[in-house]
């Protein structure tokens, strides 16, 4: 087989992208030879060579840090020298120590590991070429999604392979505390950021100056996860803005001509930590990152994880994107070295850009056949999956139907070409033997169980066991969700309002978009574009007919609409359940610690009694998203004074939101749609 193939998916114009398997050549040559290859990248043209110690010195001696140090000294009453000493300590803990030798070591190790884990690692060469070009023109920010620990150094690995400057990477501090590994990561370019920095002013100052100095000097590409952390649900996470602010500030302040953002979409056929993620979502604490843990995890090396795709997106010019959106002259009146709170205009722009990047990552992600199957499996009744089994034949037919729909919806599908569909189906199921198995023409959900030797499980434990398997399915479904979400919301709006009036549907669409904006990525201010997109996709697949005023459902479209509506059903059910909990539960004030298990208990009870059909409400991710949504809708407020995350409920507002969601009252009564300026 050749090492390249065409991405058979997207309907967009540039879908003739070629992916190259970078492991293929590795398999043919020695790992050592590869690790010791000459590495001679072309750096950013304006960049002076800048050693780690130069960088740290520049940060410590910056006017900005001096200013902040003085301010802190004044506030706390300690001496400036002491504060600066503290800053030095923070920087030491934080800073990377990129060394080519360690990159080689990393490359060598990764070669070994990756060749074992994956059949192929596909990279789009066109994206790499554009990146190579972009790196010479302006400071580049690499923005991958984060779905697995495995992808932490994958970008460095690819760039090393193709002679492109190695990035410095923002990482969470727990990685740094791993013995040896932490240091290796540091020397491979990682710098470490504490979680929950909160209001530690000095820490913020050191971090932001560090990041800005890297961008300003362009000494190395900067890589960070705009989603902030690894997505436990394999769904895109609403972007965090802290790093984004720091990274973009040098452009806003005119310290660089432009900044290039490169969204990178990493997709997996099978995620290494799939079961851990599900357990974590169910409240089983995640194992602490430790070196011994890493070795224990080595049994994962025995497994087959299929292919990995690293899709380098088209480089985006911040200058072009911000054109006309912001007025940079607001920075003219304060010395640039001093901290300045950006205007709401700039903040909105940063938020918009961050969302745009995540959306672009989504669009660049490849959807595997397994994700399609997961969508369908989840629509079957749970007893079918656990007991009777789902008809293989029916599943195959439905999956092929869905494949067509995904293509209609311009999804980027990773469906092997030149292979009979039945082979694709069965090899996919084989790859995911940890979740389903195929036996005698039927498919069953694998329930990771302790063998019968143990005591029989209690009904609650059984629910949890099933939930773990279901949540794994859910996460693979989520990999494809971005393709369906906009038409799905429209389908839901049609289903709930029973209306054909475009404006009525639009306002319900906006309401749902608003309620679910922690679940799915919506670019702020683009409600009407999202609606139009949803309309045109549904029209394209023959589900509806759109006229000036009306959206009419076509007979031929019922299958699509029902599929989409069922796809979103778990979210609606979960939200309603939690709304109900908040309204019926006596307390007006609760903490997050009480809230999560209480909801989980209620849900378990209802599942057992057959009143609730979704397991997704058991996921802490869903629960937290509901809370965030309610806070956004101002039905729940966080009490400032409290230390342990106390919330206050406005029950009437929660009830009203629930009533709108179930279609009892129209959504106009809710607060206005955010302005569509951006």
């Amino acid at each position: 087989m050749t090492s390249t193939y065409k991405d058979s998916g997207t309907a967009s114009l540039n879908d003739e992208e070629e992916f190259t398997d970078i492991l293929e050549e590795r398999r043919r040559n020695t790992d050592l030879g590869y690790a010791l290859r000459t590495f001679n990248p072309q750096p950013y043209k304006g960049a002076p060579s800048c050693s780690t110690s130069d960088l740290n010195k520049a940060v410590l001696e910056s006017q900005y840090l001096r200013y902040i140090a003085k301010e802190i000294a004044l506030e706390t009453g300690s001496s400036v020298e002491k504060v600066r000493q503290e800053a030095r300590g923070i920087l030491e803990e934080m800073s990377h120590n990129l060394q080519l030798g360690f990159i080689r070591l990393m490359a060598y190790t990764f070669n070994k590991v990756f060749k074992r884990l994956f059949r192929s690692i596909y990279v789009n060469m066109e994206g790499l070429n554009m990146l190579q070009q972009a790196i010479q023109e302006s400071p580049v920010i690499l923005m991958p999604n984060h779905r697995s620990y495995v992808d932490f150094l994958i970008v460095s690995f690819v760039l090393f392979t193709y002679d492109i400057p190695i990035p410095v990477i923002a990482a969470g501090i727990p990685l740094a505390s791993m013995k040896v590994v932490g240091e290796i990561l540091r020397r491979s370019g990682a710098f470490f950021i504490r979680r929950a920095i909160g209001s530690d002013k000095l820490y913020w100052a050191v971090l932001s100056e560090y990041v800005r100095t890297i961008v300003r000097t362009g000494c190395a590409p900067l890589e960070f996860y705009v989603e902030g952390f690894r997505s436990r649900t394999l769904k895109s996470v609403v972007p965090k803005l802290g790093m984004m602010d720091m990274v973009l500030e040098p452009y806003f302040k005119g310290e660089v001509f432009d900044i290039t953002l490169v969204p990178i979409s990493i997709s997996y056929d099978r995620v290494v930590e799939e079961s851990l993620l599900a357990l974590e979502l169910l409240g089983v604490p995640k194992p602490k990152e430790s070196t011994t843990g890493l070795f224990k995890a080595s049994r994962v090396l025995q497994e087959d994880y299929g292919c990995m795709h690293v899709n380098f997106g088209r480089p985006l010019s911040v200058r072009q994107l911000c054109e006309g959106k912001i007025n940079r002259s607001e920075y003219n009146l304060i010395p640039r070295d001093l901290p300045q709170r950006p205007s709401t205009e700039i903040q909105d722009c940063v938020n918009w850009l961050a969302h745009l990047i995540v959306r672009t990552q989504e669009e660049g992600a490849l959807i595997s056949p397994w994700s399609l199957m997961a969508c369908l499996l989840l629509q079957a009744p749970i007893t079918t999956l656990t007991e009777e089994g789902l008809q293989w034949h029916g599943l195959t037919e439905k999956t092929l139907w869905l494949r067509k729909l995904v293509l209609d919806f311009r999804g980027r599908l990773n469906w092997p070409a030149h292979t009979p569909d039945s082979d694709v189906m069965s090899s996919t199921v084989a790859l995911h033997h940890s979740i389903v198995h195929h036996k005698a023409g039927r498919v069953y959900l694998v329930q990771d169980g302790n063998p019968a030797s143990q005591d029989p499980l209690s009904p609650e434990e059984k629910v949890m066991r099933t939930a773990a398997a279901v949540l794994m399915l859910v996460s693979y479904r989520n990999q494809a969700f971005h393709v369906f979400v906009r038409p799905g919301i429209l389908a839901t709006a049609i289903h709930i309002t029973k209306s054909t009036q475009k404006d009525e549907l639009f306002s319900f669409f906006c309401f749902l978009r608003d309620v679910f904006s922690n679940e799915f990525i919506f670019i702020p201010g683009r409600a009407s574009q999202d609606f139009d997109e949803a309309c045109s996709l549904l029209q394209k697949c023959g589900a509806v007919h759109i006229s000036q005023q009306e959206v009419t459902v076509l007979e031929t479209g019922l299958e699509v609409l029902s599929f989409l509506q069922k796809l979103l059903q778990p979210f609606l059910e979960s939200y309603q359940l939690i709304f109900r909990y908040l309204c019926e539960n006596g307390a007006h004030v609760f903490t997050e610690k009480q809230f999560l298990p209480a909801v989980r208990n209620l849900a378990t009870k209802l599942i057992l009694s057959g009143d609730l059909h979704t397991f997704e409400v058991l996921s802490s991710d869903t629960q937290k998203n509901v809370l965030s949504a309610l806070r956004r809708l101002e039905a729940v407020t966080k009490l400032r004074a409290s230390q342990q995350n106390e919330y206050k409920v406005n029950k009437a507002a929660v009830r009203r939101t629930g009533d709108i969601l179930s279609g009892k009252i129209p959504p106009e009564s809710l607060h206005a749609i955010p302005d569509a300026r951006l």
């Binding site: 304006g46 005119g254 001509f257 002259s329 010395p335 640039r336």
Partner: protein
């Protein structure tokens, strides 16, 4: 006016002036040539005053006698490629005149992709038939005639006063395209003539546009196309006398029409100078400097125009505005001089100015310093400013401009000099390791008494050394300054070969100098690419002035427009974008070129709505009928 001052003062002043006159009489031997019309400078109203100087002036009433109608400067001076294809500068006026410039052709070809085969010659003569016939206000004309003030409605005279030197203005002239031009040109001879003209203009509702040296680069002289009244260009060029020199207070009282080179030359004859030397000083006038808030290259010693002016007399539709005394500083509310300075001809005509003068410097010395890169150069200038030890002039040219300056090196006569040049180059690039594509050069001009100059020089070179600077000789320095006088001539050469360009300037705080230079240059390159310019543009800058709190930066921008259907439009779009970039990065709308009509759109964001209102209310009071209707600034 003389009558304002007490008798004793006046006679004192006259006595001193008289003495002065006899002292310098020796300098004034050059015979007065024909042109009696222009030399009949005696103005009745000024009869009681002494004209300190009676030398022939540079600017005749009929400018066309010595100047180009569609390009920069004197008709006899221009760049051209001779039959051998070598660049040559004609005439006898400049240091470069009559010389071959061997490097220019290659520079033009390699920088712009220009080619001697692809010519874009200008229309050779002004075709008077394309000039619209004048709209004359007969009543005004009749009364004007009775005053005896010279005037003309000859097409050439009018066209000459219809433009400044913006690219689009010159480009249109070269193509023989003439838009709205003044209907009449008047040449007042003195303050009182101006008073009469303004009175008549008010009486007959005629639009007046003051015209000084015609060197505007802000579209300030363009006649507003929407103006329906008769437009009269008020040419101050014949009001060009130094009325008196006050040696006790070191001031000179000068008519505002005098051009820089005359003012300097005449004062020099008395042993004095103003030290005000804008790059346009050959042609720009004192009144123009006041009206645009001009800046001279030696402002570090002498100050900008606002520092030099002691007293101003301006004729407005409301009457004459002037202060009652010549105190060096006053606390009498907002300084009314600052309504006048920068008013760009919207409020009235500046007729007489009392200016500070200084004894001519004993010693002058050029110098230059090469830096490994622009960043180091800027850091050095900043340090020089911090120590407040800037020489009379200090300028930092970027790498592109350094190469440009190099291309203008005249043919060297001796093998020895070229050998030395080679050696210098070797020393800097090979021995010192400077990258020839990154190094940049600062040019210096020191002035003062010899000993102090040498001391000062050492101080500056010591600072430069700390920033990796190497002294690079006087010659490089001098050539740098020459560049500023011939650049406008060079633009005409470029326009003969599909190359158009212009300069623009701004000022900014020190911490933004590097960013603005980099971002604006990059923006120009990107915009050119986006707008379909086929060749990479020249996008270069220099830091031309240093201040305590910031600097002035000058950009040159030019490109080869072959393949573009509307090059001027493209040019304007790029310049517009560059200005946006400047403002977004914290640069000012203008350091000394002024606003005119070209940069009006940014005035409100520059000075705030309240600021606009303040200026408007002044305009409304001073000139309610918009007699001074050039529509600049607001």
């Amino acid at each position: 006016m003389a009558s304002n001052s007490s008798g004793s003062d006046s006679s004192d002043r006259q006595r001193i002036a008289q003495q002065r006159l006899s002292v310098i009489a020796g300098h004034l031997q050059r015979p007065v040539e024909g042109n009696s019309g222009i030399l009949a400078a005696e103005c009745k109203a000024q009869g009681d005053k002494l004209d300190v100087s009676s030398e022939r002036r540079t600017v005749p009433r009929r400018r066309q006698e010595i100047m180009k109608w569609n390009g920069w400067g004197y008709s006899d001076s221009k760049f051209l490629y001779n039959k051998k294809g070598q660049a040559e500068f004609t005439g006898k006026r400049y240091r470069l005149s009559g010389m071959i410039i061997p490097g220019l052709r290659e520079w033009m070809e390699s920088t712009f992709g220009a080619n001697l085969q692809h010519k874009t010659p200008a229309a050779p003569i002004l075709n008077s038939s394309v000039v619209q016939p004048p709209t004359l206000n007969e009543a005004f004309l009749k009364e004007l005639k009775s005053t005896g003030i010279p005037f003309s409605h000859d097409a050439e005279d009018r066209v000459f006063r219809s433009h400044g030197h913006c690219l689009h203005e010159i480009f249109a002239l070269r193509e023989g395209k003439i838009g709205r031009v003044p209907d009449l040109v008047v040449w007042p001879n003195c303050h009182n003539d101006v008073v009469k003209i303004v009175e008549l203009a008010c009486k007959h509702n005629v639009c007046l546009i003051p015209y000084g040296g015609g060197t505007s680069v802000s579209s300030a002289l363009e006649c507003p196309p929407e103006e329906t009244r008769s437009i009269v260009s008020l040419d101050t060029s014949q009001m060009n006398r130094i009325l008196w020199i006050d040696e006790k207070n070191l001031t000179a009282h000068v008519e505002a029409g005098i051009v820089g080179q005359d003012l300097e030359r005449l004062l020099n004859e008395s042993g004095y100078c103003t030290g005000h030397e804008p790059d346009s000083m050959e042609f720009s006038s004192l009144g123009g400097w006041v009206a645009t808030r001009a800046s001279g290259m030696k402002k570090n010693i002498y100050g900008n125009i606002e520092d030099l002016v002691v007293h101003i007399k301006m004729v407005t539709p409301r009457g004459v505005i002037e202060k009652s005394c010549q105190g060096p500083r006053m606390s009498t509310g907002p300084d009314v001089h600052h309504f006048i300075m920068g008013s760009e001809g919207t409020l009235g005509v500046v007729t007489e100015v009392t200016m500070k003068i200084r004894p001519m410097p004993e010693y002058q010395k050029y110098g230059s310093v090469v830096f490994p890169n622009f960043e180091m150069g800027v850091a050095c200038l900043r340090e020089v400013a911090r120590q407040r030890c800037a020489p009379a002039s200090i300028r930092l040219m970027d790498n592109e401009q350094f190469k440009f300056g190099h291309a203008l090196k005249p043919q060297v006569s001796s093998i020895f000099t070229s050998f030395l040049d080679g050696l210098k180059k070797f020393y800097i690039t090979k021995f010192k390791g400077f990258d020839p594509n990154r190094l940049c050069v600062a040019t210096l001009l020191f002035e003062g008494d010899r000993e102090k100059v040498l001391q000062h020089e050492k101080q500056v070179y010591d600072i430069a050394a700390k920033f990796g600077g190497l002294a690079a000789g006087e010659d490089n320095g001098q050539r740098g300054y020459m560049l500023t006088f011939v650049i406008a001539y060079l633009r005409d050469l470029g326009m003969d070969y599909y190359v158009i360009g212009e300069s623009f300037e701004t000022s900014m705080p020190w911490d933004r100098v590097l960013d603005i230079c980099r971002n604006v240059k990059a923006r120009i390159v990107r915009e050119c690419k986006d707008k379909g310019v086929q060749f990479p543009p020249l996008s270069t800058c220099r830091v031309t002035q240093t201040y305590d709190a910031g600097a002035c930066v000058y950009f040159y921008f030019a490109f080869n427009y072959r393949g573009l259907s509307d090059p001027v439009h493209v040019y304007e779009q790029v310049e517009h974008a560059a200005r946006e970039e400047i403002l977004a990065n914290g640069g000012s709308l203008s350091h000394h070129h002024g606003v005119g009509k070209l940069r009006k759109e940014w005035m409100r964001e520059t000075i705030s709505s309240v600021g606009m209102g303040m200026l408007k209310s002044v305009k409304d009071y001073v000139d309610p009928n918009n007699i001074f209707g050039n529509r600049n600034l607001l």
